[in-house]
């Protein structure tokens, strides 16, 4: 644990001249959970996509501490080099599990496929790993050969998380991972994420509009509005002592339970 895992500065991105990210900077250390909150269109998802390489920023640096070669500015890499240097260091959990799963493959194959891509060849061992990951995300390992479309939304989301974590990433980006789920299923997923992050020393960037989720899961919180970071700090500081007008509005708009 020598330094930050991720350092972003001066990140800018516009869509058709409309700014989506304006001079965004952040750093993240191994094992830290950072939540990004803000209304739709504030740039949260664009930021995740820039880190994930789905979207190319116009300016700025995204430095990531790769296992292969240490700190690398991801914005300077072409797709092939990016894939080689990043390996399995980075995961992405989509809001809709159907975007992150292979629906025509069984649950076991969904977990095994990233291992195959990483060069694992021993079928029995891959299957055993898939079984143990199903158990870790609280899916009955007896359903290893079922297709994900026969799973509930909550189970699909847990399967997507297993598919992401099986290759032992250092950072996982999550876009509203509890978004489409019932409240009771959300709680189960939050508990699971919290335990996995602690056990695996995993860093997470979590985009959410749910301040309750952010409070329970995140060490640090960043508030975005119209492409800018307007406030950031420890999660409980930002939520209990918000300084910026927009953050105060956001916090005061939440129903107290």
């Amino acid at each position: 644990m020598s330094g930050p895992l991720l350092e972003i500065d001066g990140l800018c991105k516009a869509y058709n001249g409309r700014p989506a990210l304006i001079d965004v900077a952040l750093d993240l250390w191994p094992g830290e959970v950072l939540a990004i909150v803000g209304e739709s269109g504030s740039g949260k998802t664009t930021l995740l996509r820039c880190i994930d390489g789905q979207v190319a920023p116009e300016r700025g640096a995204i430095r990531f501490d790769t296992r292969a070669q240490g700190m690398v500015d991801l914005t300077l890499l072409n797709e092939a080099r990016r894939r080689r240097l990043l390996g399995n260091d980075l995961g992405y959990v989509h809001q809709n599990p159907r975007d992150g799963l292979r629906l025509e493959l069984s649950a076991g194959a969904n977990i095994g496929e990233p291992l195959l891509q990483a060069g694992h060849r021993h079928y029995g061992r891959i299957r055993a790993t898939a079984e143990s990951w199903l158990a870790k995300v609280e899916i009955d390992p007896g359903r290893i050969d079922d297709l994900p479309k026969h799973f509930s939304g909550g189970m699909q989301q847990r399967l997507q998380i297993a598919r992401n974590l099986v290759t032992n990433p250092r950072l996982v980006l999550m876009d509203e991972p509890t978004g489409g789920l019932d409240v009771s299923v959300q709680a189960k997923l939050l508990d699971l994420l919290r335990r996995l992050a602690a056990d695996l020393d995993l860093a997470i960037i979590l985009v959410t509009h749910d301040l309750g989720v952010a409070r329970l899961l995140a060490d640090r919180l960043m508030v975005m509005q119209a492409g800018r970071i307007v406030e950031s700090g420890l999660t409980d500081q930002v939520l209990d002592d918000p300084h910026q007008p927009y953050t105060q509005l956001l916090v005061s708009s939440v129903l107290q339970l």
Binding site: A187, K188, L190, L217, G233, L234, Q237, D240, Q248, L249
Partner: protein
């Protein structure tokens, strides 16, 4: 009682805190100004002052939950002095893990997590083995008179007094040298109040520096080594 001459474990110097309410025409509320408070090992300072004087605000500021406007909050950690007002989020998290404990009035936890895990968590966060952490959590819960059949259940369905005892167990288990305690006995019956009081006295006598808010006279008298009256604020214009 003689004044201990050791270095304070926690020291507020000239701490001020105000809130600006943007939705109310940037109304500025000054709550704390020029707070000086030093707490040494083995001391328990009970905060005094009427409701609204800023007792809870001071506690939360000392924990880094509220961000002080000015001054310094010096905390001893590993023989070094850290200033909470200038510390980065990572440094504050580290201080909270092993140095400053805060026992709030209410338990706030992830739904569905079993009580014993909630109590053991501050120990596992320090790198203590999960089995050992659970063992120590079990013995503390037993001392708190939380029936063993409840340990595997999440505390949401517990009574107010049971939740408060779980909260106190979680707050005390890691043996933080600095403890901030907000109304520890508010919803407890006299037997449980005695238990909590004894635990806090043990922590104090073992050398913890404690700051407490407490309205119950029996607990105040038994716990306090001195009182600190929050000074009247200078309202800025």
């Amino acid at each position: 009682m003689t004044m201990p001459s050791t270095t304070p474990l926690l020291e507020a110097k000239g701490v001020s805190k105000s809130f600006t309410l943007h939705a109310r025409d940037r109304l500025r509320l000054a709550v704390l100004s020029e707070i000086d408070l030093a707490v040494r090992p083995g001391e328990c300072v009970v905060l005094d002052g009427p409701s609204g004087a800023g007792k809870s605000t001071l506690m939360r500021t000392l924990y880094g939950n509220y961000r002080a406007d000015g001054g310094a909050i010096l905390v001893q950690r590993d023989g070094e002095t850290r200033d909470l007002v200038r510390a980065t989020p990572r440094e504050i998290l580290a201080l909270r893990r092993d140095t400053i404990g805060y026992i709030s009035q209410f338990l706030r936890v992830i739904p569905r997590v079993p009580t014993i895990e909630i109590v053991a968590e501050p120990l596992t966060a320090l790198g203590i083995d999960r089995e050992e952490a659970r063992k120590r959590a079990a013995s503390l819960l037993a001392r708190m008179a939380i029936p063993e059949r409840f340990w595997a259940l999440p505390p949401v369905t517990f009574s107010g007094g049971e939740q408060q005892r779980v909260n106190i167990a979680r707050g005390l288990i890691a043996g933080h040298p600095v403890l901030l305690v907000d109304e520890p006995t508010a919803s407890l019956d006299s037997v449980n109040r005695q238990t909590v009081l004894a635990l806090l006295q043990e922590a104090r006598d073992a050398g913890a520096a404690i700051v407490a808010i407490c309205h119950d006279d029996v607990t105040r008298a038994a716990l306090a080594t001195r009182y600190y009256k929050i000074p009247l604020r200078v309202q800025a214009t």
